[in-house]
């Protein structure tokens, strides 16, 4: 059972969390996005075999939504951190 480090609560079992999927920022002006850009955002994921930035929600804990950098093949979690407005892809 993986250990995930919540930025608030520290190390906890991964079962306390819910995975929120691959991180993909929402286009700031959706009405300006063309169909290709918009459907990329809605439907497509990079689904990398490698380092992935992804959302986690501390469901059985403090209720924080945060990001993790995880290697999708080895399951090694390199870091967990809070979202910030300056964090772009």
């Amino acid at each position: 059972m993986l250990i995930l480090k919540c930025p608030n609560c520290g190390q906890r079992n991964v079962s306390e969390f819910r995975n929120g999927g691959e991180y993909r920022p929402r286009p700031s002006r959706p009405l300006d996005a063309d169909d290709q850009q918009w459907s990329n955002y809605v439907f497509f994921r990079h689904n990398v075999s490698g380092l992935q930035k992804e959302w986690w929600y501390h469901r059985n804990g403090c209720g924080l939504w945060f990001l993790a950098e995880r290697h999708t093949k080895t399951n090694e979690i390199l870091s967990t951190f809070r979202w910030g407005p300056d964090r772009t892809e």
Binding site: I3, P30, F43, N75, P85
Partner: protein, 1012 residues
């Protein structure tokens, strides 16, 4: 002359006949006698006289406490401490099971819980390892998979006859034509093969549970290495868990009388140390991410978070594959030692010991000391290679055959002889054979490290050709192997290596300093200088059946055939032949299988690799995995009131809700004609606070919110980025900066998470969202008399002008501080009253009491379903699914595409542009008859071909008592849905049911009741 000659010829012929007959009879009698002696007389003698030895120095049995138990209907006695296997062996039992496929007799092989030969059924629990299960008084033990008895299994000769037709994977190649044959054959094959019988009883006698444990350093294995590691890690101040599957520590030293004092001392240190928690009779069955360990202890499952792990699980003795190696009486050397030393059981009377290491000499010495005749000791090695301390003394006492190996075991249901052969200098067999009579054939030719858990932890192994052993190539920072499992066979090295491993892991966990690299390398070098303990040889070719896999009855011929058929990688070989997939999970066979596969491919063992060991390492009951039944259930504040009324409860997600109180039709009528009240405490309820609440509402809802005045409440629809409806509800503004949002019951948790996500990733400025779902009870009082009733209980101004539809008020009702929301799911004048949950029971009782004079009835979910359907109101998740957008779902009026950016807007613009293909619309059924079930398909039927095409589906449907007909909501192609009155067909039970489209609400279509 001719007469004499004739006479002589006749006499000679007669004499020859007589002599020949006599000789034949004699030979037959001799053979029969031998068979009878070995198959019948000796076993009987054993049963009568018993095979129990006098007191042994390290025996576990308590001879003062005797008990009785039954096996296969017969009564046997046992001492306290005996296992079922040892007690039966002490009574002379040799056959313990019948093999999976061929029903061959099987006896004790490993006596340590690693092989499948002694699996028995106790009561309703199948697949119990007799060699590990202690006898309890009056235990009822039965063999498994026998037809009808262990001794006389009728399937054995049948399987022997059929075996040429049942090679490896036969079920892939046969029994598929004609088509019916597999239907007949499968149940027969399943009945013939298999293990124990699972119980179908509803309430098991056992209770199962789980417990979490934590340790800085967890040491798996309580032999000398493990104990040493535990003591040294604890000495560095780490919190240590020491786990061993036996009921006493000591590991392989338990059988060594000369080591008794050392073992006792080590155990005492362990138990005395405050930092060490010892778990005995506990088996670690799996190692998961970040050293999360699962361990079983009877009916309890431990879930252990280990910071660091030391694996000191030792070794399992490896069987040799030769003709009839599966006969009862053929066992591993260590098995005989366990029986002898721990249980004082004589495994046989005349033994042949076959060995390739010094351990076999210990076995022979132990047997000899116990008074068992060792007919021969055959050592595969040259004399020079042996360094056993017992060598000289044993050579003087018993026949030793250097450079010999066993080629076959002989016997029917038990071994009665063994054949050994000398070896050439290159290791190949010579043609000479020596047959030795015996009733016990012990094999000690090598050891397989017990490293399944290490594989799971990500340790990689390589094969050391010289030592014929697997060695770890790389170990992660948090997992280390030490002791015999790491190829360390000498006690002094085990103690040193264990201590270093313990210190190293403690240091990695933050306690104390680590051993230096040179300390570690020194031990590794010393290890390499140890005498080898395993032979390169795995298979001795012959002419009978030779078994690699005892669990699945796989012979070496099966495997070579499979390789020849193209299943030449070890992964394919495993799956095709099922080797290592039985109860032993490869402990007895995987190394031998890898060797065979390597040899068949003319490759090396290292290149061949091995299959991935997966948890559980030993059989585990489903009950232990389930643990204590923990199924969360949510109940409302007046749950017990519902039960008291005899309500029929229903499950809605995690909630228990009343479906109805006996007569849902009456409940509907009560609401339409008088007044009813329903418990809607399950609704999601959130408090939103702050100056920027309208911002977030504008984003998550499809409609407008900025201008909503204080005291107003509005219905809203939420979509995701795809434009799919995810929830709906009403949100009220109670104050300038305080809002109150409700969601569907099912969405309470999910929508909170959803909005929090958007708030925590940029849209949360000036807003706070708090989930208050459990804080409030909520009751919806609905019906023409609702206002009149409520006036009795509150001073809040309730007249329509003071408190119009879609407004909210706060105040006191029945002495309780409440919020009232005038909304109308049911289509009647209604007030949804929210109060602090602790007052729920009081308020509910007051409402019912005040309503008595008006004929109030409580109503449940079923009545509510009908009431809302009569108004044409949809239910998210019932009338919508993961493809429904709000435009198609009749909620177009709630979608303001022209407003600023909101979730789903961009996608919905596309939907509108593309035009709708399907729409949610109301309908009425044309004929009287059964009510169509929700989920039925709507079809169009081709008039010529009569073929049906699915064009829609029924999402809600009920008989309406108010309208006295069946009404519903359904999804239809827009060309039909757009035409009021258009007819269509619902397909039900092979018949067409005609219905027609109905636009608007079925009842009170202009909302007069609602706004009254």
């Amino acid at each position: 002359m001719s007469n004499t000659l004739l006479f002589v010829i006749v006499i000679g012929a007669t004499l020859m006949l007589v002599i020949g007959g006599a000789v034949t009879i004699a030979i037959t009698l001799y053979r029969a006698n031998r068979l009878i002696v070995s198959e019948v007389v000796l076993p009987h003698l054993e049963k009568v006289m018993g095979a129990r030895l006098p007191s042994q120095p390290v025996e576990l049995i308590n001879r003062k406490e005797e008990m009785r138990f039954t096996f296969e209907g017969n009564e046997y006695s046992a001492f306290k401490g005996d296992t079922i296997a040892s007690a039966l062996a002490a009574s002379g039992i040799k056959i313990f099971s019948r093999s999976f496929k061929y029903h061959r007799p099987r006896g004790l092989l490993c006596c340590s819980g690693h092989c499948p030969n002694c699996l028995v059924q106790i009561g309703d629990e199948p697949n119990v390892r007799a060699c590990r299960q202690r006898v309890a008084p009056d235990m009822i033990v039965k063999p498994q998979n026998v037809t009808p008895t262990l001794m006389w299994d009728l399937l054995a000769p049948i399987m022997r006859f059929l075996s040429p037709f049942m090679p490896v994977g036969f079920y892939y190649k046969t029994l598929y034509r004609p088509k019916w044959i597999w239907k007949v054959a499968e149940p027969l094959l399943r009945a013939a093969g298999g293990l124990g019988k699972a119980s179908h009883s509803e309430s098991p006698e056992d209770t199962f549970d789980k417990q979490y444990l934590h340790g800085d350093v967890v040491v798996i294995g309580g032999g000398p290495t493990g104990i040493s590691a535990a003591l040294s890690a604890a000495g560095s101040d780490a919190k240590v868990l020491l786990i061993d599957e036996n009921d006493q520590l000591g590991g392989y030293l338990r059988i060594k009388a000369e080591a008794k004092d050392v073992v006792d001392e080590l155990c005492a240190s362990v138990y005395a140390h405050p930092n060490i928690q010892t778990l005995t009779e506990t088996t670690v069955t799996g190692c998961y991410d970040h050293n999360w360990l699962a361990a079983t202890h009877g009916d309890r499952l431990y879930k252990i978070r280990a910071d660091k792990v030391v694996l000191a699980t030792g070794v399992v003795e490896r069987p040799l594959v030769f003709d009839n190696n599966d006969l009862p009486g053929v066992m591993l050397g260590s098995a005989a030692q366990y029986l002898l030393h721990l249980y004082a059981v004589r495994p046989g009377r005349r033994a042949v010991v076959v060995t390739a290491n010094d351990d076999g000499w210990d076995v022979a010495a132990d047997l000899h000391a116990a008074g068992i005749e060792v007919v021969a000791l055959a050592d595969e090695r040259e004399r020079a290679a042996c360094s056993s301390a017992k060598m000289e003394s044993l050579e003087a006492e018993l026949p030793v055959f250097w450079r010999h190996i066993v080629t076959s075991a002989h016997g029917n249901t038990a071994v009665n002889a063994a054949t050994i052969a000398p070896l050439e200098s290159d290791g190949s067999l010579t043609t000479r054979r020596t047959r030795l009579e015996c009733d016990l054939l012990l094999v000690s030719i090598g050891w397989t490290p017990n490293t399944g858990l290490a594989y799971q932890a990500g340790v990689e192994f390589g094969y050391d050709e010289d030592r014929a052993e697997l060695m770890a190539r790389n170990m992660p920072d948090d997992f280390i192997i030490a002791g015999r499992a790491a190829g360390t066979h000498m006690l002094e090295h085990q103690i040193t290596e264990g201590a270093l491993a313990g210190r190293r892991m403690a240091s990695a966990a933050g306690y104390g300093d680590a051993p230096t690299t040179s300390e570690w390398t020194f031990v590794q070098e010393e290890k390499k200088r140890e005498v080898t303990r395993s032979s390169q040889r795995t298979i001795v070719k012959g002419s009978s059946k030779r078994f690699l896999c005892y669990c699945e009855d796989v012979t070496d011929k099966d495997l070579t055939t499979a390789v020849a058929e193209g299943y030449d990688s070890i992964e394919l070989l495993k799956r095709y032949s099922t080797i290592s997939m039985g109860p032993c999970q490869g402990k007895m066979c995987s190394m031998n299988a890898v060797h065979l596969c390597a040899h068949a491919n003319t490759s090396t063992v290292d290149e061949t690799g091995s299959t991935t060991t997966r948890p559980p390492m030993t059989p585990i009951s489903l009950g232990a995995l389930a643990g204590q039944n923990m199924e969360p259930v949510r109940i409302t504040p007046i749950h017990d009131w519902h039960l008291g009324q005899g309500a029929k409860m229903m499950v809605a997600g995690l909630w228990l809700r009343p479906e109805h109180y006996g007569n849902p039709t009456e409940e509907v009528r009560a609401v339409r004609e008088r007044v009813g009240v329903i418990d809607v405490s399950t609704l999601g309820k959130y408090k939103l606070t702050g100056p920027h609440v309208p911002n977030i509402l504008e984003k998550v809802y499809t409609n407008r919110w900025r201008q909503l005045a204080v005291g107003r409440v509005r219905y809203g629809v939420m979509c995701n980025a795809e434009g799919i409806v995810i929830d709906d509800g009403v949100t009220a503004r109670f104050d300038e900066r305080e809002w109150y949002m409700t969601t569907t019951s099912g969405g309470a948790g999910a929508i909170y998470e959803w909005i929090q996500w958007w708030m925590q990733s940029g849209w949360g400025d000036g807003v706070q969202l708090i989930n208050r779902s459990d804080d409030f009870a909520a009751f919806n009082l609905a019906g023409p008399k609702a206002r009149t009733l409520l006036k009795e209980l509150t001073d809040i101004q309730l007249d329509n002008k003071e408190f119009p539809y879609m407004h909210v008020r706060s105040g006191v009702v029945a002495e309780v501080p409440c919020r009232l929301l005038r909304i109308g799911f049911t289509g009647e004048l209604s007030y949804e009253i929210h109060c602090p949950a602790s007052y729920g029971q009081h308020l509910w009782e007051q409402l019912l009491q005040a309503g008595e004079q008006f004929g109030i009835m409580p109503f449940g979910v079923e009545a509510q379903r009908v009431l809302r359907l009569e108004k044409g109101h949809l239910i998210i998740g019932q009338d919508t699914d993961a493809l429904s957008n709000p435009i198609a779902a009749n909620l177009e009026w709630a979608v303001k595409l022209e407003k600023d950016d909101f979730l789903g807007q961009r996608s919905l613009l596309r939907v509108v542009e593309n035009g709708l293909k399907q729409r949610l619309i109301g309908f009425k059924v044309n004929e009287t008859g059964p009510t169509p079930e929700e989920g039925l398909q709507i079809v169009s039927i081709n008039s010529n071909s009569k073929q049906r095409k699915i064009i829609g589906w029924v999402s809600s449907c009920r008989f309406s008592p108010t309208l006295n007909q069946v009404i519903g909501l359904c999804w239809l192609p827009t060309e039909i849905a757009d035409v009021d009155g258009a007819e269509f067909i619902i397909w039900r039970e092979e018949r067409a049911l005609t219905a027609h489209v109905h636009h608007g609400a079925f009842y009170d279509s202009n909302g007069a009741q609602l706004r009254s």
